[in-house]
Symmetry: C2
């Protein structure tokens, strides 16, 4: 199946500004994107990076400068999957679970209401990534009478947006993004509650 | 299978102090515990609340005042599962996936390095819930030559510890904890990044 991997090519990962410099954010975002594409390909599917700016990767790239919602909907030819480029915990097994889930609209919720991954097998469904998008996408699937399914996956739920997410990559990542963080000096630090990544 | 549900009966959920009063935290923690026990029972298993203080619930309760690690290890008679009492997104399906996963030690990672749920089918494995416990538990399973497996579940990964977790209950909860939050005036509020629960 074709898998769109939306990537913010211009100023990626601005919400990591408190722990990474702009050049580091770009390099780390690219490492995550490569991990996602590799997991998709290793699961037997075809990743296409849908980027807002040119990006140098060994995978097909489509450049579309428009906002996420418009760009994804324009590229959507069902059946298609959409997997965000910052899912640094993604594994081929998680991709197989996503694509292997029956349903005309299959949603994988992200932390904080996002829609981190989806499969669309219905001609009338369109994305709207603003706000609590996973709730909106559930409503939109019902509105077009699409059979709705949800994938319950930690690896699909953790997108790396904020400093507190980095520790998940250190603990559960297996690829370039984890190596990038380790090489940049990040390590797991114990706190009173959840552990964090610090350097 | 017997499922231990550890519950901090004395001053539960102190890290929710910035958004809930002490009496609210106690009521909300009890609602979550009841949801967890109901999901376990609906999946065909037997919950036992392992509490640090007496708690009024219609499920078997064992009171053990010791810290979490000591109390769980003392109650552990394999095969046994351990499911934390603050997994407010838990469903019978998630419990079935946990218990249905083969392995002598089955771990479900929580956000920030926790071990939110586990199944132990090995006589020598013992828990240690401090720090990045999921990493330590992986090491401990290997140290006793136990066949290790991991359950990739969003519903098992989200424990409700901090204010930012409440929105997950509003978006994905199905039981008493969600109703409690709604009745207390919490609603989903959109922000620039992940959405949050506010009242």
């Amino acid at each position: 199946m074709e898998v769109l991997v939306p990537f913010a090519g211009r100023e990626p990962k601005t919400r990591l500004a408190d722990c990474l410099r702009p050049d580091e954010r770009a390099a780390f975002a690219r490492a995550m994107c490569l991990d996602v594409c590799a997991a998709v390909a290793d699961a037997g599917h075809e990743p296409t990076v849908l980027s807002t700016a040119p990006i140098d990767v060994d995978w097909p790239v489509v450049v579309d400068e428009r906002p996420l919602t418009e760009a994804v909907n324009a590229a959507l030819v069902p059946p298609t999957a959409v997997v965000m480029a910052d899912l640094a915990l993604l594994t081929p097994a998680a991709v197989r679970r996503l694509v292997g889930t029956d349903g005309e609209v299959v949603l994988a919720p992200g932390l904080g209401g996002g829609t981190n991954a989806a499969v669309v097998r219905h001609d009338e469904f369109r994305f709207d990534y603003h706000g609590a998008s996973v709730r909106d996408h559930r409503d939109r699937a019902r509105a077009v009478d699409a059979a709705l399914a949800t994938v319950d996956s930690f690896r699909l739920a953790v997108d790396v947006d904020e400093a507190r997410d980095l520790v998940e990559v250190l603990l559960h990542g297996t690829g370039r993004a984890k190596r990038w963080l380790t090489d940049a000096g990040f390590a797991v630090e114990t706190t009173e509650g959840r552990v964090v990544a610090r350097r």
